[in-house]
Amino acid sequence: MVQHTQELRKLIAQALPELDVVLAWTSGSNQLASAPLFITAEDDLDKLDFGPMHVQNLAAYLPSLKGRKVGIVTRGCDSRTIIELLQEKLINRDEITIFGIPCTGAVNIRKVREAADGQRLRSVEAGKDIVSVTTDEGVRTIPMQDVLMEKCYNCPSQTPLIHDHMVTERNGCHMTGEAPESTLDKLDAMEPDARFAFWEESMDRCIRCYACRNACPLCVCKDSCVAQSRDPHWVDLSDNPREKLMFQAIHALHTAGRCTECGECERACPMGIPILAMKQALNRRIKHLFDYEAGMDMENTPPLFMFRQQEEHIKERDAR
């Protein structure tokens, strides 16, 4: 990892004179906190770090930096977001420089907390296949396999699909064994009424902070989000699960066929509400209906912005 970090710093240093800013990660106040790093000068490079503890999808910053020369450190999953943004012309390819890095998976800190039985975490160290956690009780190791972000278990491409520079690819892969049961799996197994109750209970905890929206790289409405507008007036501010669930439905449908399941919405949620499941369900359906996955090809059109006169997988319902 150290060697890779050096290599990445070198690549960025070479490109930096041509760029306004480079987006990367740095370790925050402690090892549990990763933070975005905005590199504008060579000195900033010392703070650069990457690895399983650095999870954030930096591509979310790109649309707001449109018009500037931006470098971005990118994993496989992040590159799908970039492709989707390019597809929708929300960013320009000639304005961004992609520094590809090999990824061995990203740690889901919530799962680490669960694995540590809820004890206070003093520090977390990510190794090759294990995560060692220091708590007040002592040190314990957890297999990396058990605490990855959900998206990592069936990651289609650990290296970026598009890049301008690439840190030497590492052989081997972080995937062994089965993915744990996801929220969507749990929901699938429920009766509809239980599902409805699940969302009511989940949304009851929602504090309407909109972190999910703000973290989502494809929520590009910025200050014009309909969740807070009066014209149009889609949701009201009464504190009840109905209005909060309405917002989640809005978010899911607005990103339908665009969402690359980066998981930032769920990761950002301070209440730990598993809202990614809704988007995953829609994506699953979209894959079946239109044989489409978001963020795979710059030339594609998201499926809800186009149509075919004969839809192969839609029964011509009641056609005459």
Partner: protein, 154 residues
Amino acid sequence: MPVLEGKELRIVGFLCNWCSYGGADTAGVGRFAQPTDLRIIKLPCTGRVNPLFVVRAFLNGADGVLVSGCHPGDCHYTAGNFYARRRLEVLRELLDVMGIQPERFHYTWVSASEGQKWKQVVSDFTARIHELGPAASFSNCPAVTVETGMKAAI
């Protein structure tokens, strides 16, 4: 003003002006008897049907929602119902994952001349909703009290 207690369930229809609204009119002109539950909202085109209208109706307590437009290829606006078809297929999955039975939602194509078919669509769909009974509702949710729209902003 709720639906008739014990008699009706709450069913909302979103119909395009050119075909299905005309089809519902044709059914009326032909005096084709239909159940009384359905309330129709007229739109220019199914392409104007935001799937979120349907979600809003369900979250506000609708027991069934019906969308109906021109047959594929007959859209007055050439492509509105082609877009609608994709959106509504995706909506079905969203309702499902939210715990709203997808059977409570139906979309179909009825032309302005198909009065008899419209009667059938309404009768079948209403019967289906009665079979399913009232939709799941939030256990502790007050009614919508806020005025919708610009009025509220003033």
